[in-house]
Amino acid sequence: MRSRLGVLGAAMMAASLIALVLAGSASAKLTGEFTRFAQCPYTNPEVHRCLHSVTTGGTVKLGSKTVTITNPATLQGGYQDVEEGQFSKFFAAKNGETLSKAPQKVPGGLAGLVSCPGISNFILRAACEWTFENGLTGVNSTLELAGSSNDIEINELNLALGEGVTLKMKLKVRLENPLLGSSCYVGTSSKPILWELRSDTTNPPPPNKPITGNPGTITFLEKARVLRLNGVELVDNAWAAPATNGCGGIFSFILDPIVSAASGLPSAAGNNTAILKNTVHTTTSFALNQNDQENP
């Protein structure tokens, strides 16, 4: 009996020790420049590298509206090592915020999208007038991923060298205002906006003309285990934008055409432009796991 209790006690102690070790491992902290990669799924053996890119400025011309980026948006997650010239599979950020929601003001606000007297439906016209009377005329636009984070494709070589397409993303733009409701979008998961961002020169269909991005400058951090690209300008002006959908909730059949017409949507390829100014950091899962172990 005593020996059985002894074995049980030893097993419990061993289990406790293992739990402690695991807890220690789970609570390991990244330090210094590595902390920005905290949301990268670097413990996933399929993930070889991590990306943290903050868009701090730039403009997006969508149809007839040009939005200036004033609120930083972060793209983060993991990706795989691939052979030269190929695009890597992307892995979502651990907290689910692969692309952070950063609302940007639409110039002209609601007045630039909707004219209340022009709305024939009485209820909607009243709602429109109420919105204006209450000063709720600001409209924000927020970029969101259309579909899965796995749909993002990154070409690390092109990112590092500043040539060719660097980042492919399927997006939709959410337009936010009480009148427009909570699901007013340009683009859907099934019909997204496709961006193929690059830091060299684009080749858009007319009327757009080629524009050139900037590959940025490279700095090595954390004993050269983190690569920072400053001043990276990613551009694409060869994409198309569909019409709006879901604007005004149940009245979307009325508001969608109005908002689309005021925004110049749908807008064919060659009429839209994205210019994103970024600070990009990349590192490896190896370096992150090493940093984890160095700081239990």
């Binding site: 070889h48 090592d81 691939v82 052979e83 030269e84 690390e156 070589l157 590092a160 060298l161 500043g162 040539e163 060299d200 400058t217 490279i218 700095t219 090595f220 004993k223 050269a224 285990r225 983190v226 690569l227 990349t282 590192t283 490896t284 190896f286 370096a287 090493q290």
Partner: protein
């Protein structure tokens, strides 16, 4: 009146002919370039070997990296008639450094050996003979590879397209047993030069070239 009209036309026609003749002469001068051994043009393939002199630094300022190789070898080399050549360079024992803010080794990155398989062509420019090296096949001079799984933040591979112009500061056209050659900074014309992907890359380092085989120890030169 008609004479006045014809005067400038005739002048420009003559000028065009002169220019065309000059271009043809230049082209034929390049085509007539040849390797010489003991003052005589070679008429058949001749073997050549290369010896390293110090270290070799491939600098890429715009990407803030420098690849430094401790060792160089040219195991295979041929001087061919008509001023052409075929050479295989091998750079080994490489390390990667940052250039800014300080020259510092990126210990997490191991760079693989670089093999250049190039074809050469003698070029006469401003009275000086150079050798223009371009990829023997395809568009790449070589490809740099970096260790993965060691924390190296550089991409796994970076292609090196472009061309390389070699010069002998002592004169490639002067007869010598050994020619110490190095990369001509900036190449000769726009479009010349090695690229790290799309970024200019310069080679800092020199190596000596000597005849081997039946012509070992003999003086040789290249005249563009």
């Amino acid at each position: 009146m008609s004479r006045r009209k014809w005067g400038p036309r005739a002048f420009f026609s003559c000028l065009l002919v002169v220019l065309a003749l000059t271009m043809l002469t230049t082209a034929s001068a390049n085509a007539e370039g040849n390797w010489r051994i003991e003052g005589k043009n070679i008429s058949e393939s001749t073997t050549i070997t290369g010896q390293g002199e110090g270290v070799y630094a491939f600098l890429v300022p715009s990407r803030n990296v420098e690849l430094v190789f401790q060792s160089f070898a040219m195991d295979e080399g041929f001087l061919l008639p008509n001023g052409t050549s075929y050479k295989v360079f091998l750079f080994t024992e490489g390390k990667v450094y940052t250039l800014s803010p300080a020259l510092e080794e990126i210990s997490s990155c191991k760079v693989g050996n670089l093999t250049f398989k190039v074809k050469g062509e003698l070029v006469l420019h401003n009275g000086i003979t150079y050798e223009l090296l371009s990829p023997a096949e395809g568009t790449l001079l070589t490809t740099t590879t970096y260790s993965s799984g060691t924390g190296c933040p550089l991409p796994k591979t970076v292609p090196i397209p472009g061309s390389l112009v070699l010069e002998d500061p002592g004169g490639l056209q002067s007869e010598a047993v050994s020619h110490l050659v190095e990369q001509t900074p900036g190449g000769l014309f726009p479009g010349h030069g090695m690229l790290f992907g799309t970024h200019p890359m310069e080679l800092d380092g020199s190596f000596s070239l000597e005849l081997t085989g039946e012509h070992k120890g003999q003086k040789w030169s290249g005249v563009g």
